[in-house]
């Protein structure tokens, strides 16, 4: 069990600063997901926790203790690498056992641990095989087992599912959630896949260019994005954003929050447009509507319209988001919120 804390941490590679003055607390026992676009510094952050690439300045605390001077193997963390980093010359058993031997765990206890972990991840029949004879999913389990067997207080995972096919990925996702429930340890999970983030996280930490954009549970992240970047990163297709006009204020709504109708409704946001494209995805249909205010994506579960048809796009007041000039969210409590809503109503065109 351990919490992790970053205090004013900076990290530079060859003078190029990747992370600057970052403060972050990862709670004990929670499943925290680091998410963000490629190159934003997720892996860098994870490697700083593990001690593989120590920070340039600032301090990383595990369980309140500064671990800057503590070797990776002595931090009580285990990591599942993106490419698994299984020892190719060792059998599955030796792979799992390696950390235990280094930690001077007795032979009898070691064997018992390996057997039980092997059973837990479904590798019992493969313990004496070489990793090169295993499938991708099985290798991933070896990497997991190797991490689990050390009973770490922190689990670090760097996009562990990105090499698996879609079906196996969904299955492993559920297994990881269950694993977290069973172990109750701190999980830090890196991904750039927002679906993975939404489905697994207790808390999402969204990063961009080395800066944390928002830390929140998945539903808050989705319902109340704290800035424009978050709003457009979470959700597919991304949130529609439009200019409100003066003051650089922008409004936004999610494709699934809009309704389409043939007659104009009385929503605060209502514009007329033409359906430019229609993608039928089975359970839902995605329309692209072209209007004088710009192009909007609309996602509906019913499939009533065809391309070329003229429609009204309407969005209810509580589904609208406003972002200020600094890209930050404008809360409903703020005085100006009403004015923006009115301004939007005034711009509606039929």
């Amino acid at each position: 069990m351990a919490s992790i804390e970053f205090v004013r941490v900076s990290k530079a590679f060859d003078k190029q600063e990747v992370i600057k003055d970052l403060n972050l607390t990862i709670e004990d026992g929670k499943f925290t997901v680091l998410v963000g676009p490629s190159g934003c510094g997720k892996t860098t952050l994870l490697r700083m926790i593990a001690g593989l690439d120590p920070q340039t300045s600032g301090s990383v605390l595990i369980d309140g203790k500064d671990v800057t001077r503590i070797a990776p193997g002595k931090r009580g963390v285990a990591m599942v690498f993106q490419n698994y980093a299984i020892y190719p010359t060792m059998s599955v058993r030796e792979n799992i056992e390696f950390g235990l031997v280094n930690n001077k765990v007795g032979k009898a206890e070691r064997e018992e641990l390996v057997e039980s972990i092997g059973k837990a991840v479904g590798l019992s029949d493969y313990l004496d095989r070489k990793p090169s004879t295993l499938s991708g999913g099985q290798r991933q389990r070896v990497a997991l087992a190797r991490a689990m067997v050390k009973k770490p207080s922190v689990f670090l995972m760097d996009e562990p599912l990105s090499n698996l096919d879609a079906k196996l990925r969904v299955q492993m996702r559920i297994e990881l959630i269950e694993l977290h429930k069973k172990l109750g340890t701190t999980f830090v999970y890196v991904t750039h896949d927002q679906v993975e983030a939404m489905s697994m996280a207790d808390k999402i930490v969204l990063m961009n260019k080395g800066v944390i954009q928002q830390e929140a549970p998945p539903d808050t992240m989705y319902r109340r994005p704290s800035n424009r970047f978050t709003a457009q990163f979470i959700g597919t297709p991304p949130m529609n954003i439009g200019e409100l006009g003066a003051g650089g204020i922008k409004y936004g709504f999610r494709p699934e929050s809009a309704v389409l109708s043939e007659v104009q409704g009385d929503e605060p946001f209502s514009v007329r447009g033409v359906i430019a494209t229609r993608e039928m995805l089975g359970s839902e249909t995605i329309y692209q509507v072209r209007s004088d205010s710009g192009n909007f994506m609309v996602k509906r579960s019913e499939d009533l319209f065809a391309a070329g048809q003229e429609v009204f796009v309407g969005v209810a007041a509580e589904k609208l988001h406003f972002f200020g000039e600094d890209e930050r969210r404008i809360e409903e409590k703020q005085g100006a919120y009403r004015d923006y809503l009115e301004a939007l109503r005034g711009r509606s065109h039929g």
């Binding site: 593990a50 193997g73 990591m79 980093a85 020892y87 190719p88 010359t89 190797r146």
Partner: protein, 292 residues
């Protein structure tokens, strides 16, 4: 129909025929001829005087003192060169495997002797090892260390030849091992660090097994090469002093004119020894080599 079938069966043989002809002519025929010669008391001047003597040449080989002397020299030379080169090149490679400008420079420096002809190298070392005026003794004296007779004493001559061979060959093997080391994924080392493995254990359990195919290759290639050493001996010592550096191939060379049948028989014995050694290597070590 039948003709077509025949053509089809013959075609592959036809296609490999040129290569096979080359192998027969330049590999198999000489080997067979070597075997043939080894059974004769062969007269180079007058072929008619040659006579078949069965295994007499072999019997002579195994009864002659100087054969055993050159065999033991060869074994000591091979063991020395193989062990020293493997150890040193492994050490150097581990040091040089970190990519930096300085390391590239050093590596190029170590590799240079491999580009230079062994004859030139042997000559240069011959001068340097000269006991009275040579560079090596000069340095040893300057450092207050005991000097050596180098090639001129039967006690140190073989060691000196080993030294030169190691010096000449090491760059090439360093290159192979460095390449092998650099191909190991860094994340494996990171995983080992997270598994709390210390440096020594990481080296034994991860680095060595990972480069074992290359090390095995070097071991086999170098053993075969060292057993056949000739040029260094020829240039530096001529087998002397007092046969202290006489190796098998040089021994064959010495007998080439006086007794070609005997020389051929020694060649056959050499071949058998190398084959046996290689076989033993594969039997003993192949299970410890991890191909991926």
């Amino acid at each position: 129909m039948d003709k077509q079938r025949l053509g089809e069966t013959l075609r592959p043989y036809l296609m490999i025929a040129p290569a096979m002809a080359g192998i027969f002519l330049f590999v198999l025929y000489p080997v067979v001829f070597l075997g043939y010669l080894s059974l004769y008391d062969y007269n180079l001047m007058n072929k008619a005087k040659s006579k078949f003597i069965g295994f007499d040449n072999f019997a002579e080989i195994f009864s002659r003192e100087d054969f055993y002397k050159s065999l033991s020299n060869t074994v000591i030379y091979t063991a020395g060169v193989v062990v020293l080169t493997l150890l040193l090149s492994l050490l150097l490679a581990v040091w040089l495997s970190k990519k930096s400008k300085f390391n590239v420079f050093v590596q190029a420096g170590i590799f240079t002797p491999h580009v230079v002809s062994i004859v030139s190298i042997a000559l240069v070392w011959l001068w340097m090892m000269e006991p009275n005026l040579g560079f090596l003794n000069y340095v040893l004296k300057a450092l207050g260390l005991p000097t050596s007779e180098w090639l001129q004493s039967s006690r140190s001559a073989l060691m000196s030849v080993i030294l030169v061979s190691v010096w000449q060959g090491i760059g090439y093997y360093v290159l192979i091992i460095v390449a092998a080391l650099q191909s190991i994924s860094p994340s494996i080392y990171e995983a080992a660090a997270l598994d709390n493995a210390n440096k020594l254990r990481t080296f034994w359990k991860i680095t060595l097994p990972m480069i074992s195919p290359q090390l095995f290759f070097i071991l086999v290639i170098m053993t075969i090469g060292s057993f056949k050493v000739f040029d260094t001996v020829k240039v530096m010592t001529g087998g002397g002093p007092n046969n202290a550096t006489n190796t098998l191939v040089y021994y064959i060379y010495e007998n080439r004119t006086t007794n070609i049948g005997y020389a051929s028989a020694t060649g056959v014995v050499l071949m058998a020894i190398i084959a046996l050694l290689t076989f033993v290597y594969f039997r003993l070590l192949s299970r410890r080599v991890h191909y991926q």
